[in-house]
Symmetry: C2
Amino acid sequence: MLLGVDIGGTSVKFGVVDEKFNIVHRSNLRTEKGISEKDFLAAVAAECAAIAKEYPIERIGAGSPGYVDMDAGVIKMAVNLPFKDTPVAKCISDATGIPTVVGNDATCAAIGELYAGLGAGVRNMVFVTIGTGIGGGIVIDRKIYLGTRGDAGEIGHICVNVDGEQCGCGRRGCWELYASVTALKKRTARAAKAHPNSILARQVEQEGVSGRTAFNAARMGCKVAQLVLDRYLDYLAVGIGNLICIFRPDVVALGGGLSGEGDGLLKPLCAKLQSDIPVEISKLKNDAGMIGAAMLHRSIEEAKK
Amino acid sequence: MLLGVDIGGTSVKFGVVDEKFNIVHRSNLRTEKGISEKDFLAAVAAECAAIAKEYPIERIGAGSPGYVDMDAGVIKMAVNLPFKDTPVAKCISDATGIPTVVGNDATCAAIGELYAGLGAGVRNMVFVTIGTGIGGGIVIDRKIYLGTRGDAGEIGHICVNVDGEQCGCGRRGCWELYASVTALKKRTARAAKAHPNSILARQVEQEGVSGRTAFNAARMGCKVAQLVLDRYLDYLAVGIGNLICIFRPDVVALGGGLSGEGDGLLKPLCAKLQSDIPVEISKLKNDAGMIGAAMLHRSIEEAKK
């Protein structure tokens, strides 16, 4: 059996995955804000060791946001997490005696989807995670494509607006500035403020702003929310259209928080795309990253073939 | 020896390529405007047959603009050429008795550059041809990537402006509308008209508008031309930056008419890109397509491995 560890900003998820990709055990570790690197590593390694006592774990894989050096087994940097060249792989394998690798979370999600989700039976796939930012994984010939230096596929930073906003990455008009959940929330908040009598504004007042707010208000018939979504989906469609144009894959899989909207997201998006390439919601949903982390060893081996 | 045929809008170039990628024979066929499909095919096949009498040609490859069905050996459609589901491969092989394949011209140029140019020794490469439109070839793990249906890599149609001009492809704001030589010529003509006393305007008056006009005028110290180029290069850089971000290749190779500007193009472009990935002018220049066409058989075989 394999252990997959999905490191996130607010919690770390652990899953024991059998050879048929069933998750036979799950556990969860909430990460306190401001936790130190040392305490974080100790807690994660201890949970892995505890699971390895219960299950015959052969290999462990961990996925993390941020910049990961897979060859070194090191998380170089991740926003909201106490990592700075942190040797996560070594730390877990020292505590468990089990071979451990670490990879970027979006890469792991794409790997999970490739083996156990929409990717079963396809050759080429693009996986797009729509969350705080936009991440992705590119699958070519059933292998994750990471480029010569291991850092390819940063699809959230393709420019869709030459004169657009400055991005933290140093470029302008990056796709994720317009099409991430963060962007949708900003657009929602702005519209609610501008239209204080709208259903959208009422929703925001009652529940605050989330990636779901505009979808919910639009379902209640709110025209303001509909406009927010329409413009947001224009941008989402542009980036996905670009990936389709470049890769012409068998399928584009959508993951991350927003993919929870299901058809509410997919139908208007596909209407804008008008593409002959299927675009679908991730089959594994929130488990893609965990299952993919568990499969990371195998993916690395197959990429070397 | 191999025969490469490079079909263009105004002429067809033939080259006999030896095992060291030397071109040991060249010939050229001017294509008259309005020539029929039948006459065109007959002329090309006759020239191939004549060459095959002089040289021990083992295989023939032809590259053409437009939409090519490689599996069928058919050019489905090409602007300015009399093709409509035209069985070019069969026609040449019938006339010569030599196995013949056909591919897209930008794909061929990328193949040529891969085997005999900047691609020697690299794993991943993006080839960008900047001409009437923008074409390209994506090389992954030393194989041309064409996607599941054979039509990937249409990089000229990635959107860089969500609210941009309508493109003939049906989408909006496509990169080639802003960064092709056609776009540069439009920008040059517009600026010359708006600034009739500029060096640029004088150049346009004397020599007409070409992709070189703004470069030449800028070298003469024309500020108007400098502005034209600066804005044009912003757009060129955005698309190349996107490709770098997605592929993180070993090298980006620039081909097509504009690559003739050499350092005059490369230096300001790289200054805008600020990338750690090398961007270079194609080593094979105008021969990339012909040499690549000659290598097309081998490329197809290696892609199947």
